[in-house]
Structures are given as structure tokens and as C-alpha cells.
Homo-oligomer: 569 residues x 2
């Protein structure tokens, strides 16, 4: 491709609208343009990258035995009624009416459509397992689209759906897809982690997310420094920090005027916050005889609402109690609550249980206990894992210590079980002749989002640094003052032709621009190698090739250049 016949569309200024680096660089490098909130046009440079990502995803899906199909973007609403998601899904599901006033949706995901398809096409266990995928435009009407194509409304997703006669077969395909996802991110050249995840509203029991590690990530990931263990902090199991032991101190009531926070109590009583516990009041499940439940954490720990919501006693979604209602019930405000003598159910975090002789609110305004102990002073309570893990916690797999990092979610795989096959009655005849519901898995990759995540991980102050696997071009030819030098022009044109002939994805910057403008543009776009052709080097039969990532410059004999470029990684 010649730049003179291309839409380069680079920009010098950083657009004010772009908060994250990938969004800034995608606009500046001429990869995308905003059409409206959450809607982006992919310009030629961006589309080249996107297509390379999609090709790698497609290849790994095919190798994993998945079969490509293409389902409509527009889906009938009645299928969503059948699955129950017409009501469950929020306004992210864009509902539309056609000219005959019939309900349709713009597909954010395709469980309903594919289950309906398989229900009609597959009748026997002999046709299973079956794994169908597509790479397709999706729409999710985000309330606040942001970070460019990272969280846009229209986006490209690879979504796969597998169908099985039993859980064992589902697990086999799930593991195969897990491996295929690892292959995708490794081939692209991204630093990533598969992490244990919550399956959320999609449903099902087992689930992993795939995160590209980057400081700008919206998710916190806990991972072991000594094993493969990694989980979204939402879900990472928090191990008890130490053994449960009986204390020796006496339960003592102390005045704590004005000390309403854990930090204030620790300062006032001159103790470590780890010696304190804090008590939070949340609403009980409506089937409970109680209105409230008390949650007790070590003073320095934070509540994990995802874990708490899954407990039987607790209302879901989690609702913190209103202070006035708590006062009316417990005769004490939020600053001085504690588990001793409380009239509502008490759930104690595993690590809070290991604190002996602890300090806690006394359920009387401006008073606390010191020297409190479980069992002796608090008779009835249950122990659960209700806190977020923190850096330094032991890894729940028993190997090493947890660290926390930021990640960008680019993939998510689920063992759905029979959630959709049950709702839509999708089954087959088994070997023994009975009709069984199918087990399903589903597997998503954010194809557009990978592009942004790769930039978040690979950039410097000059612009993007593409891994060769997904670079818009492998090499750029930058001729210096070609329009004045017949020799430069001749060598550049010949090299361009030779590279095209051997199938190298090459850009030829044949614009009438100053060398500095060309260098800046090509570093911004992030092409892995620049071949700089200038008269001075040509006088010595040499050409310079520059590595975008390392900055290293190599002088090569003109005659060796073609072979050298063909062998670049």
C-alpha cells in the first residue's frame, strides 16, 4: 500500500475526549473515528489490525473443532421472552419494533438464537458434541459508553456455543476452549491471565475470564506469585489469616467519644487496626425472620459484596441498611456497633474470627469493648468468606502469596449447564432412547476490545508498538527526499515491488513530506520495522532498518535487505 493512495488520517493533537491511552492513540494513529456515542467507524489502519486479530481468533476456533456460522444481528423478541431474558435483561438490551410493530432486539449475545437453531437441527446424541461460533457485530446499549472502542455500544465479538449430552463432555470442550483462548492471546503476543470468574447474569457454575494485564484495566485480579492461580478479586477466595484461638484479656467497656471510624478507634486506643473488627449491617433475605444481618470483618479488610450476595440469609442484590432503621432496631448508630450481645444474626469473616482479644463497638453510642473474644463473648455466629483478598494474602491453592494487578477483560467462558436448554426445551434422544436436555457452554472474545487492550499494553511516548502478529503493516519504507533523488526513488520503488511480490505486508510512504513528518507518523502508527532509504547510506550501498520497539537501527547491504525482512519475526 502506498500512503499517497491510502487514508492515513494521523493527527498531531491528543483529542480532549479521550481519557485512556489506547483511545488517544487510536484516534491519533487514524485507526477509528467516533460517529456517535459508543459508535465508531474503523478506518483502514484500524481495520487492518482488527482483521488480523479476527483471523487469529478464527484459526484457533477452527483448530479447537468449533464450526463457523453467522446468525442475524436482529433477533425476534419472542425468543428472549422464551428464555426469560426479555424481563431479566436491563436497558442494555436495545429493543426495537419493525414496520409491522413486532418486537425485535439488536443482539448483545446469541444464546437464544443458537439454542433455537440446535433444537431444530439436532435430534440425536450421535450429532454431539457440537460447538458453533461466529465473529459478528453486537450491540449493547451501554448507559455510559467510554474509552473509545474499549466500551462501545457496537462492537465485534467472537461468540461460541457448545452443546453436550452430559457435563463431562461439556467440561472437555470447556478445557479445549480454555486452551484455544490461551493460544489466541499468546499468538497475538499479549501478557494475559485466565482468571476464575463470577458467571453473573449469563448463568452457570464454572467460569473463567481472560484478562490482558494493564494498569488502565477496570478489573482487579488476584494472582499467586508461585502458581497458576488467578481470580477476579470479586471472586478470589480469602483464606483465614492465622488460627482461631482463645484470648486471655478481660472484656472491658471503654468510652470512645467522637471516634466513629476504625482508624479513629485505633488511634484513640493506641492499637493496630488489625486488632479491631468492624460490623456492617445489611438487609436480610425476604424469607428470613430477621430484617437485618450483621457482617463482621477485621478492621483493615473490605467487604466483598459478590460473595455476600450468594449467602442464603442475605438479600440479593446486596443492600446496606439505613442508619435510622438500624438505630430504631438496635438502639445504636453505625460508629459503635459490634457483635457482642447483638440481637440479629452475625456472620463473621474467616480472618476476623482469628483475632483474639479484639476491639469492637459496644452497641452503645460512643462506647467500645476491648479484650472481646469469640465464643466466650459472642455465642452465636457463623463464619464465612466475605472479604476481598488483599496483596500478601496466602494463595487459596496453597502455593505462594497473592498479588493484585489490573486487567482488561477480553474473554469470558462459561459452563452454562441447562439454563437455556431447559427454558427453551432443547434436548436430544440419548443412547437409551430417552429425551435429555442438553448441557451448554458459551465462550466470548471481545475482538474489538483486544485491539485497545493490546495498545494499553504496548505503547510509548511516540505511539503504538504493535506486536508483529497484528500490526497494520509489517514494514514501512521511508524514502528520504524521494522527490528530489532519482536514486532513492529507484531503490524504494524496487524494494516496494519486491516486498509486495513475496507477500510482505508493506506500507510505502511515498508522500511529499519531510522525513520528520514521516518518522513521527510511522512511530505513532507503530509499524514494527521502518526501512529508511537515504542518499548518504546508498552511497555505501546501505539501507537502515529501525526496530520500533527497541529503537535499534541496523545498517544492511542493499542486496541483503529482502532476505533480512522476509526473516523478521
Amino acid at each position: 500500500m502506498r500512503t499517497s493512495q491510502y487514508l492515513l488520517a494521523t493527527q498531531k493533537e491528543t483529542p480532549a475526549e479521550a481519557e485512556v491511552i489506547s483511545h488517544q492513540l487510536m484516534l491519533r494513529a487514524g485507526m477509528v473515528r467516533k460517529l456517535a456515542s459508543g459508535l465508531y467507524t474503523w478506518l483502514p489502519t484500524g481495520l487492518r489490525v482488527l482483521n488480523k486479530v479476527a483471523a487469529i481468533v478464527r484459526d484457533e476456533m477452527n483448530k479447537a473443532g468449533a464450526i463457523e456460522i453467522s446468525m442475524p444481528v436482529v433477533q425476534p423478541g419472542d425468543l428472549w421472552v422464551e428464555s426469560g431474558r426479555w424481563d431479566d435483561y436491563g436497558p442494555e438490551l436495545l429493543r426495537i419494533k419493525d414496520r409491522h410493530n413486532r418486537d425485535f432486539v439488536l443482539g448483545p449475545t446469541h444464546e437464544e438464537v443458537v439454542t433455537s437453531l440446535v433444537k431444530n437441527e439436532i435430534s440425536s446424541y450421535k450429532q454431539l458434541p457440537l460447538n458453533l461460533y461466529q465473529i459478528q457485530t453486537k450491540f449493547r446499549d451501554e448507559v455510559r459508553p467510554r474509552f473509545g472502542i474499549m466500551r462501545s455500544r457496537e462492537f465485534i465479538m467472537k461468540d461460541a456455543y457448545s452443546f453436550h449430552i452430559d457435563a463431562q463432555s461439556l467440561d472437555q470442550t470447556y478445557q479445549r476452549m480454555h486452551q484455544a483462548y490461551c493460544n489466541v492471546f499468546e499468538r497475538i503476543g499479549l501478557s494475559y491471565r485466565p482468571v476464575i470468574a463470577d458467571s453473573g447474569s449469563i448463568g452457570g457454575a464454572v467460569s473463567h475470564e481472560f484478562h490482558v494485564l494493564a494498569d488502565s484495566g477496570e478489573d482487579d485480579i488476584a494472582y499467586s506469585d508461585a502458581s497458576d492461580y488467578a481470580a477476579n478479586v470479586e471472586l478470589a477466595e480469602a483464606i483465614a489469616l492465622g488460627q482461631v484461638r482463645a484470648g486471655s484479656a478481660q472484656l472491658t467497656l471503654v468510652d470512645t467519644p467522637g471516634a466513629k471510624t476504625i482508624q479513629a478507634i485505633a488511634t484513640l486506643l493506641k492499637c493496630d487496626v488489625k486488632q479491631t473488627v468492624k460490623t456492617l449491617i445489611v438487609k436480610a433475605d425476604e424469607t428470613s425472620e430477621h430484617e437485618f444481618v450483621a457482617l463482621v470483618l477485621r478492621g483493615d479488610h473490605s467487604l466483598n459484596s459478590i460473595k455476600v450476595e450468594k449467602l442464603a440469609l442475605i438479600a440479593s442484590p446486596l443492600q446496606m441498611a439505613d442508619e435510622a432503621a438500624v438505630k430504631a432496631k438496635l438502639y445504636c448508630g453505625f460508629g459503635s456497633l459490634g457483635p457482642v450481645g447483638l440481637s440479629i444474626p452475625v456472620i463473621v469473616d474467616r480472618s476476623a474470627e482469628t483475632v483474639a482479644d479484639f476491639i469492637c463497638g459496644a452497641n452503645t453510642e460512643a462506647q467500645h469493648f476491648t479484650g472481646a473474644n469469640w465464643q466466650r463473648d459472642v455465642k452465636t455466629y457463623v463464619v464465612e468468606d466475605i472479604r476481598d483478598v488483599v496483596a500478601g494474602d496466602p494463595s487459596p491453592d496453597g502455593n505462594g502469596t497473592l498479588a493484585i494487578t489490573k486487567g482488561i477483560e477480553v474473554g469470558h467462558i462459561f459452563q452454562l449447564g441447562d439454563k437455556y436448554s431447559k427454558a427453551m426445551n432443547c434436548g436430544v434422544l440419548t443412547e437409551t432412547g430417552k429425551h435429555d436436555l442438553l448441557q451448554m457452554g458459551c465462550y466470548g472474545i471481545g475482538v474489538t476490545r483486544i485491539v485497545a487492550a493490546a495498545i494499553e499494553q504496548h505503547n510509548d511516548k511516540f505511539g503504538i508498538i504493535w506486536p508483529q502478529s497484528i500490526a497494520p503493516f509489517s514494514v514501512v519504507i521511508i524514502p528520504m527526499n524521494m522527490h528530489k533523488s532519482a536514486l532513492v526513488k529507484e531503490v524504494a520503488e524496487k524494494l516496494y515491488k519486491d516486498l509486495c511480490d513475496v507477500g510482505v505486508d508493506v506500507l510505502f510512504d511515498d508522500r511529499k513530506e519531510r522525513p520528520g513528518v514521516m518518522f513521527n507518523d510511522m512511530e505513532l502508527i507503530g509499524i514494527p520495522y521502518s526501512v529508511v532509504i537515504g542518499e548518504r547510506n546508498l552511497d555505501n550501498q546501505q539501507i537502515e532498518i529501525k526496530n520500533r520497539k527497541s529503537g535499534e537501527k541496523t545498517l544492511l547491504e542493499v542486496d541483503n535487505l529482502l532476505e533480512y525482512i522476509k526473516n523478521l519475526g
Copy 2:
């Protein structure tokens, strides 16, 4: 690909819902499934064909200098208000509201979006010409979707848009795209015609359609038997059949009781219908001082409404006059109208003008004139081309005679001029420093429709006959009773591996099915070559290869097979 790990989805019965052969065969061959009216899922076999068509289109676009981008499916309504098409476009334009109650549309075409893009990106004539294309999902809310994917609501289109500083540059790109379209259809292996077309609601002056010739086509195409001339019948110029001459007969009033049609008049008066003229009354344009206009055609010709609508005097869209209103104005009903003594403007078709001594209505109920002549009996009239051409007409380019055939429109190219650039103020600075509006062209190919059109043109009673260029697989291996013969299995497996290794797109039918079932399925799907591996032939070191199109069977030495298949066209 092995059929045992594939979704073959063939069907024996012809689905009742499918009217045309391509729709029937696409369902039976497991290429598509209907999700809802006008919405189809592409199954693996169909998607393979679709992707091959798209790849050919993409390659020819790139060769023609067009640059690929990807614009959103969902477009802001305000752009359509800006271009004026928010009001002009009918209910085929699906209008939707997002969660914030803002107007959007599902894109049926992208003139607005691309014009808005180019307006922002291009500022100088030096960046022109520019030709941008995409291959993308479109939506048109057809009132009556039919013929499967031939006229569906969701479909894949290649749409390109070119931008130019002047009409000459536009014409150059237009010719280049015309050639690229010819290349696409030739490479696929379709019998097609580029035809002169009406530019309709898209706008602009010059326009060509590309039609795949097939009896089931919805369009009538007139083409010369002696030149390249071809045009949609809607637009084909009708030449006067003969010279205008003065007649010799006397104008005579005759009674024609009960004869209300041209055929009845000809029978009653024992003359050729070619000796009669018929008079149709249509509404005049609202700027006219008249309410009606009379249109006069030779008795055997039919009115071309597209041609008539373009005439200055006539209301557009064309509206035939109501008989009661005509009677009130002209004191005569439809059966006895004629041009002699009529009080409203008269437009005479070129060929009607060449009839001397003609028969026409006398503007009195149940009476006609014989021996009527232009000029002598009808003083004031204008002559225009207002009829459809018919087979046997002289070709308007002066070479040969017209024939009429049916075509399926698969492409349409337009010289738009400044219709959109004017409405949306899209211009650049010219060489002389002034701001000029851009000239635009647009170029569409129905990628999904090509698949159906190819089947309409290439099928027999056994199923589809794919051209090799877009066949879902190039070759299928059919082993006879592989599950009983270790030798057949060994040879088949080895051949499959060898073909995969050299990159042949091969299907291996490894199902436990009777040979007859396999043969029928593979003929239905239309794979160009079947390699039949059976014990009897293997005993002679031979394998049979069958050509789907010719039915020809060839016996080959096992050792020569691989080379033979690699060289198949």
C-alpha cells in the same frame, strides 16, 4: 473437514415455504435457516460460500484502488435529517430509539455516514480521489421479504463510495469500478450483463445495474443480439418502428358497441392491433394548467411509467386518472378515448406516431374513428419515448435487434454527483484555493444475493452445481463402507491428510451412512468433484473421480490422484 465433526444439515424434503429453486436448495443443502421473516442464519456450508464470494469481491475492490473501512450498522438519525432522506425514505428504513430516546436507524446504506466522515477527514484536493468500501451487514425492512436470502431484511452488502474534485475524476473511478464488477462476476463464473439503469431514489445521473441472467429473475433486461448494449426494460430506449408518414384514408366515425379493449376493437373492425392506438389519461404535474395529460401508444405497446414520470408535464410518481373524473372532464369513459379533438395535452409515443390511417377512440361512448392521421386530424401533440421496448425492437445503439431476458440484480453503480456533498456541505480547497463541493459515486454489490443468484443459474434436478470459485469445498472424499473395509479407510484417511496438507479445501464424508445417502447429499450440496473410494476399484489400484457438472467419471491410479486433484480447475 470431516462430516462427522461438521453440521451438514441436509434435508430430503423440499420445504413448502420456498418458492424459488435457490431458496429450496439452500434450505435442503443446509446452507441457511430462517430465524424470522427475512432473517436467516448462515450454516457452515452456506457461510463457506458466502465467505468465498466476499473474498473475491474484496480482492477486486483492492485491485481497483478502493480502501476498506468499516462503518457502524447503527447510524444517528440526525445525519439522515441532514441529507433529507429521513423524510424521503419509506418504512424500509428501520428507525429505532436508544435508551436515551435518541433517534437512530439500522443502516440500509451508508451515504450519510461516509460523507460525514470524508467531510471531517479530507480538506484538500490533493487527498483525492478517494474510494472507500466496506463489506457489512445491512438492514432493509422489506414489506414482503421473499425468496429466502434473495430478498431478505438483513443481508451482506459491499458498498463503496468515491469522492472527487470533478466529474471527470468521478467518471474515471466509475469506469474502474464498472470493470472491477465485471471481474467479480467473471471470476465467480456467472453469466451476467451490465445494463443501463435508472438511478431511482439514490439520485444522480449515470447508473448501471449488474444482472445475473436467470429465468427466475425479477427484472426484465433488454439486450442487443449484435452489440454490448443492455438496459433494464424500465430504461431501455424504444426506437420509432418505421418512418412518420401521411395517410390517405378518410377520417370515419364507426360504432363500436361493447368493444372496450384494443383487442376487441381489432376483432370487431378486422384489423391488426398495430393499426390501432390507445389513449391513457394520467394526472398532470401540479405546476401544469391542466389536470390531465393524454398518453398515446400503438395498440400492442405498453406504457413505461419510469420514462413517463421523468417528463416535465407529468405528476411523479405516476398516477393514472380516475375514470369518473375523466368522464366529468372529457364526457367519455376509458374504452372510447382518442387523440382527435381532445381538450388536454397529448403526448404520443414515437412508434404510435409512425402509424398512418390509424384507429382510435372518438371520445364518444361506443364510437371510434378509422383512418385517423397525425397532423391532419390531431393538430397539437408532442412526441416522446414512453413505451417499454419489446423483443424484436431495433437496438437503440443501431446495432442488431433487442431480445428480452430475466435478470437478478446483484450490483448497482451510480454517479451521484453532488447530491449528498451539497446537502451535507462536504467540500475541499481546490488548487486555486476556493472551496468546492465533492463529486461522489457509489457502488453496491449484494454479496448474499450473489449466492442465491449463482444457484439459480447453476443447478439440476440433483441439486446445486457450484462453480469451483465459490464452492463450499473443492472436493469431497466418499469412502464406500469404510467402517467395514480397513483398506478403504486407510486409503481415504491418507488421501484426506494429503489433500489437507497441500491446502485443498476438502470434505471427508466419514459418516456411517450408506453410499447412496452420501452421493445424494454431496450432489445436493454441489461439490464440484467427488472422489469415490471403493474396494473393487482399489483392487486394481484405482479410484473414481466424478465431475458434478458433467457427470463424467474418471478412473485414476491411486498414486496419480493427488497430482490430478491439485490441478483441477
